[in-house]
Amino acid sequence: MLILKLAYKNIKGAGLRTWLNVLALSFAYAAIIFVQGMIDGMSNQMETFSINAQYGGGQYWQQEYDPYDPLTLDDAHSKVPTELQQLVDEKKALPILIRQATIYPQGRMQNALLKGIETDQNILTIPSFVLVNDDGYIPALIGKRMSKSMGINKGDYLTVRWRDAQGKFDANDVKIVEIMKTNSAEIDVGQLWIPLERMRQMTSMPDESTMIVLEKNSAFNKTVGKWQHKDLDYLLEDVRAAMAVEAAGDSLFYIVLLLLAMLAIFDTQILSLYRRRKEMGTLMALGMTRTKLIQLFTLEGSMHAILAAILAAIYSTPLFLYLASDGIGLPEATAEMGFAMGDVLYPLFSFGLIVGTIIIVLLITTIVSYIPTRKISRLKPTDALRGKLT
């Protein structure tokens, strides 16, 4: 307790030097928590958006389907197995039929994916209800990225050419009934969504689909014929890998920040040892052991981290609370890059992140504070009283 009081008194007495160190360290705290909160928020948002718009509670893929190999798409369709059809009938699963097509926006030829989706589904956030029509034309839904890149707008007619199940060419005009504003580029770029039943007729693929999306939090994971079950861990692997790369890149930023703060602490400790030789000698003469002296100086260093945590909490808490509730507007370029993050990023400052950061910084500060004080173990009180540091 004596050491604690003495340490506090000493660093308080150091005045401006202490507060400069504390301020520098508090910036490190705030920056680490802010950046990590951004990454966690980004990761959380990307996963949430991907689940809501694309993955649901997991998917079943027709055995030939491989989203990374467009060559498989021609054969990736078959009748929905009974067990999955039962889930579809109960509205607990959503069938999607995928077929390659060629579109002709403004007379240009482009490859696209034609995707059939049920119009009354609630499993994904795709606004498929707009695909209900009774005017005879084929209604189609596209994303904002597709709309922008192809120069197609709501109400436009677009010629689409595809092949049916037997490979016969067919072509027709579709009417763009809505431009959906989606955060997920994977349901947007190069894709046209049309009513499932219409697409099954167009392609001569009755009751067939390419994949089945399960409702969120679905526990269904049985083996269903040759259809492959893909859980969220598998489906989100890419999103998580992208975030891991992002986090690794940002960790360099923390290391630089912490190095700067630790350099300041280290310098302060060295300076203290040099300037306070007589004080150390006096304390030893009064009966303080070398170990206690080391503890005192280390604690002084560590206290910078504690004070910095308090200072950082004072100025950054309102800011972080504001950011967590109102979010940070993202430039449009982020959406163009294909990250499913939305227009606003809400950083995620979890309890674990804050406590973890404090513990790590405190631990590093303590180690950095301790290293210079090892010299004390070789210190002779007589030399110290005379101002010598051997």
Binding site: P70, L71, T72, L73, D74, Q100, T102, Y104, Q106, G107, R108, M109, N111, T159, R161, R163, D164, Q166, G167, K168, F169, D170, A171, N172
Partner: protein, 245 residues
Amino acid sequence: MINKLIFTLIVFSTIVFSQTQSADEILKKVDANTFSDSQIGTSKMIIHGRRGSRTVEAKSWQKGTDDSFTEYLAPAREKGTKMLKLGDQLWTYTPSTDRTILISGHMLRQPVMGSDLSYEDMMEDPLLQNMYTAEIVGEDTVINRQVWVLDLKSKKDNIAYDSRKIWVDKERNIILKEDLYAKSGKLLKQVLIHEVMKASGRWVAKNITYKDMLKDGDGTEMIIEEVEFDKKIPSYILSKASLRR
């Protein structure tokens, strides 16, 4: 009265029957004129794009209806590019990457050298009588030649174009115009022959325009410069090894 009706029916059915027969006969003659055991030729393809036109020259060897080999001779950028079709498989070789690629799936839908012809158009069975039933629907004049107009309807489900309309020269049995339709009846492609020539006793289209009717532009012009029929093609040419030769 009944006798008159029976007579009319007999006459009508005879006309219809004879027309169907003659439509099939026309198709057979067209195929006979088109099909040869082998074919070696050089051609020029003029691709009219949005930013101007470019010309691609090629030499090709074709054996029967299944196997063919094409080597691009010009421009310098395409020189050395080769294409080999063996049965229902198609490979391309590009010297700049020194790689042979099997063209399949969606890649077959890509235009050949940016033209209005896709790889899958090249993969089609050229014998019309194998794929379509024909019906004469009229007569017309194309490039000052008297032609039969035939409607062709696919016999099988796996034929790429559901129906076609062809304009066949009455004397020369060569198609002078062709419209290719989707299942919905939408016109997808149009082939126009501007000039014909005689080679090895056959009538051959010398100047052809292929046009993807869904796409803007003036289409792709093909000029056959030289063609020889029923010449022996060395077996090494129609092999994968020849791609890197």
